[in-house]
């Protein structure tokens, strides 16, 4: 973005055009939404050109986003936070809420990430989904996602953000279960949806707390009011926001859905479950910075959650053999880094977003690479059945390699600039925190190097372990490079993986750019000298990569996973996350519903149907008296008169 600065200064004098982009900012949400609507409503008649409309809508949002960026860069730093009011949304005596867009460096960063990577992935999907009969529907959902995600990041109030928040959840659900004729995929979609609902409870409670504390839900009111609010309330709001973020960003303890979410088509995994949607939690935390500034406890919990997830994802990533699930575990771990950075407070906010940006590029690139590998290998995902692909898929190999070096944090690739800053910041502070967080971040870098190198070597290097008809292990494999529509986005993302971090780090450009939102922070010295941290990181990373090379490139990889140690077996099962959820939540929940159903059937229903049975039994008994014989009626009348006479006489007597 800094590279655009010269352009911006040239444009700046022509302020007449400056308002143009800002006035049309609503197009960012409207264009993909309308496109999604058209694609869904027109049905099969749009099958032939639907994907191009989707791509066009996505590209249009990128153009608008870039226009606003140029506009913002052209104005001084103090005027870079702008509110665009759209319409009066909720107007009551208690709450007066205007639906509007907030254009500032943070939201713009997201807009450009989402629209740029999103457009590339739209392009990739045109080829990737070519043979899928439901390609038009796929693009409709992708557009719906882009619209919701942009609404999420552009909203100027928590309530409008929540609308986008739910929108991306819906799009994620629809796309994970895109091939819902496979029951396991449909279940995975449901799992993601349900776990996100748990997190949404946190969001709703946070909204309620904000309304009761600040009397408003827009960012201006809430963030400005945070300075005066009590710490207890801010802590409560912060923790609820964290719960929301944990669900959306697959952080501990709501992380279990992300691995299964890989059931969706690979472009979806790249866009939603790696680059953009899952980072929404980080956005929420950074956006709510002032709230967390007043709640150190909540901030500490954010950092702890990030640290746990960081290690959790990294350990799981080491044991998975499914290429997409390894990448998913890696995503979880990298978002853990971002959460950790966000949990460090103002010194970490900018680095969290910086890592989010670079991660968006290199992880999306690697996912697209994985998709390209699957495309060439009959949708095979087991890495033990890959090997030696570098010769057959040169472009995929090279672009994936760029992403791999970036995530490892090898200078000067993108990841180095962002991840090293997070590790450095983790070492800043007093007491036990810098030592624990710093060590975790450092260890995480080593483990990341190991599992990403493992993935890279198992897939592209070593001996060919492909399935073959002759051995009866699967279809014969004829790996081939993917078409240009797929390799082009990969190449662009690879360029980003190589250079983006370095370009944005020049003169702390990106951090300065975010300052209107995250605030200016004086430099703090870590507890260990910076060169030592950097050296330690590099050593650990190289060590991890070397171990992976020795085990997965230099020696033979067994095609059937060996039994492995206790830790390996646990990691293969995602450290028993599903078992824990099942034991702690699912089974007790089932027992609870079962006992409620039983209670309902016996007590409530029993009481009412008993009442019914009694009256109908009484009716049946009385019906016998109405036998239709006049003589018995007469007898009854006589009997009645006798009874009355006896009673009268008895009373009188």
């Amino acid at each position: 973005m800094l590279s655009m600065l010269p352009v911006a200064t040239e444009v700046a004098p022509a302020m007449a055009a400056a308002g143009f982009w800002q006035e049309n900012a609503w197009l960012l949400v409207a264009a993909p939404l309308v496109s999604a609507g058209i694609l869904l409503l027109l049905g099969r008649s749009a099958d032939r050109w639907g994907h191009w409309l989707g791509l066009l809508a996505s590209t249009l949002t990128f153009v608008v986003g870039a226009g606003i960026l140029v506009d913002l860069l052209g104005s001084p730093a103090g005027e870079r936070v702008r509110e665009v009011d759209l319409f009066s949304w909720i107007s009551t005596s208690e709450l007066d809420l205007v639906a509007g867009l907030r254009l500032d460096p943070l939201s713009l960063t997201f807009v450009l990430l989402v629209t740029f990577v999103g457009s590339l992935i739209h392009l990739y999907s045109v080829a990737y989904m070519e043979n899928d009969p439901a390609r038009r529907r796929f693009f409709a959902y992708l557009n719906l996602f882009v619209a919701s995600m942009l609404l999420l990041v552009l909203a100027d109030s928590y309530l409008l953000l929540f609308v986008g928040w739910e929108g991306v959840g819906l799009a994620s659900y629809l796309l994970i279960g895109f091939w819902n004729h496979v029951p396991a995929y449909a279940t995975a979609a449901k799992k993601a949806f349900v776990m996100n609902r748990v997190a949404d409870v946190g969001m709703i409670i946070a909204l309620g707390l904000m309304f009761s504390t600040f009397g408003g839900l827009d960012f201006t009111t809430v963030l400005a009011g945070s300075a005066d609010a009590s710490e207890g309330k801010l802590t409560a709001i912060g923790l609820m926001l964290l719960l929301a973020a944990c669900g959306k960003s697959a952080q501990f303890p709501l992380q279990a859905w992300l691995g299964d979410a890989m059931a969706g088509p690979t472009p979806v995994s790249a866009l939603i479950h790696a680059a953009t949607m899952v980072t929404a939690g980080v956005y929420l935390i950074v956006r709510s910075g002032p709230v967390f500034d007043g709640a150190p406890t909540a901030l500490l919990v954010v950092a702890i959650v990030g640290a746990i997830t960081l290690l959790f994802g990294a350990i799981v990533g080491c044991a998975k053999d499914d290429i997409k699930k390894t990448l998913a575990a890696s995503t979880m771990s990298q978002i853990g880094y971002m959460m950790l950075a966000a949990g460090l407070g103002p010194i970490g906010y900018a680095f969290a977003i910086f890592h989010l940006l670079t991660h968006g590029f290199f992880k999306a690139g690697m996912f697209l690479g994985a998709g390209s590998v699957m495309h060439g290998m009959n949708d095979q995902v087991d890495m033990r059945r890959f090997g030696g692909l570098s010769r057959y898929m040169k472009i995929t190999w090279l672009t994936f390699g760029a992403g791999w070096l970036a995530i490892l944090g090898i200078p000067p690739f993108s990841g180095f600039w962002s991840k090293d800053k997070i590790i450095e910041s983790a070492f800043v502070g007093e007491g036990w925190q810098p030592w624990v967080f710093g060590t975790v971040a450092l260890l995480g870098a080593g483990i990341t190097a190991f599992y990403m190198s493992r993935l890279f070597f198992m897939t592209f290097h070593g001996k060919q372990r492909w399935t073959s008809e002759a051995e009866g292990t699967g279809p014969d494999q004829h790996p081939h490079e993917s078409p240009i529509l797929m390799t082009l986005p990969m190449i662009v993302l690879a360029v980003g993986s190589v250079a983006l971090g370095g370009v944005l780090a020049i003169g702390d450009g990106f951090v300065t750019w975010l300052e209107p939102v995250t605030g200016h922070v004086e430099h703090h010295a870590p507890v260990i000298p910076v060169p030592v941290i950097m050296a330690a990181t590099i050593v650990l990373v190289l060590l991890g990569a070397f171990l992976a090379w020795r085990q997965y490139a230099a020696s033979t990889v067994p095609v059937v996973a060996p039994r492995g140690s206790l830790l390996t077996r646990a990691a293969r099962r995602d450290l028993y996350q599903d078992d824990v959820n099942e034991g702690l939540v699912m089974r007790p929940g089932q027992y609870l519903t079962r006992s409620l159903v039983f209670g309902d059937a016996t007590l409530v229903d029993g009481a009412f149907s008993g009442l019914g049975r009694t009256s109908s039994g009484l009716g049946r008994a009385l019906r016998g008296l109405q036998n239709g014989f006049v003589r018995s009626y007469a007898a009854m009348m006589a009997l009645g008169i006798v009874v009355i006479a006896v009673v009268v006489l008895a009373v009188q007597g």
Partner: protein
């Protein structure tokens, strides 16, 4: 003659009439039972009028006779109508009101 004997007679006549209504199937006979009960009541009224020495009991007896005459007209008409449709004068055949 003891005036009380008239009351015993009225009771006996009423009992006979009531028993007839309850036991006999034929509509005509049952109807006769009803008439018997009415006249037993008339007899009791007249007897009480005699005992108390005022005329209101006799007046009531006249009323009962008038009402009974009217009732006979309606009742016989109903019995004839039933007989025409069902070819039977048995009250047990008319049991459509069975619950």
């Amino acid at each position: 003659m003891e005036v009380g004997n008239y009351l015993y007679l009225a009771m006996i006549l009423f009992a006979i009439g009531a028993t007839t209504v309850m036991l006999r199937r034929s509509a005509i006979i049952a109807f006769m039972g009803v008439e018997l009960m009415l006249n037993a009541a008339n007899l009791a009224f007249v007897t009480f009028a005699r005992i108390h020495g005022d005329l209101s009991g006799q007046v009531i007896a006249f009323f009962v006779m008038v009402v009974a005459a009217a009732e006979v007209v309606v009742g016989l008409a109903i019995i004839v109508a039933i007989f025409r449709t069902r070819k039977s004068a048995s009250v047990d055949d008319v049991n459509l009101l069975k619950g």
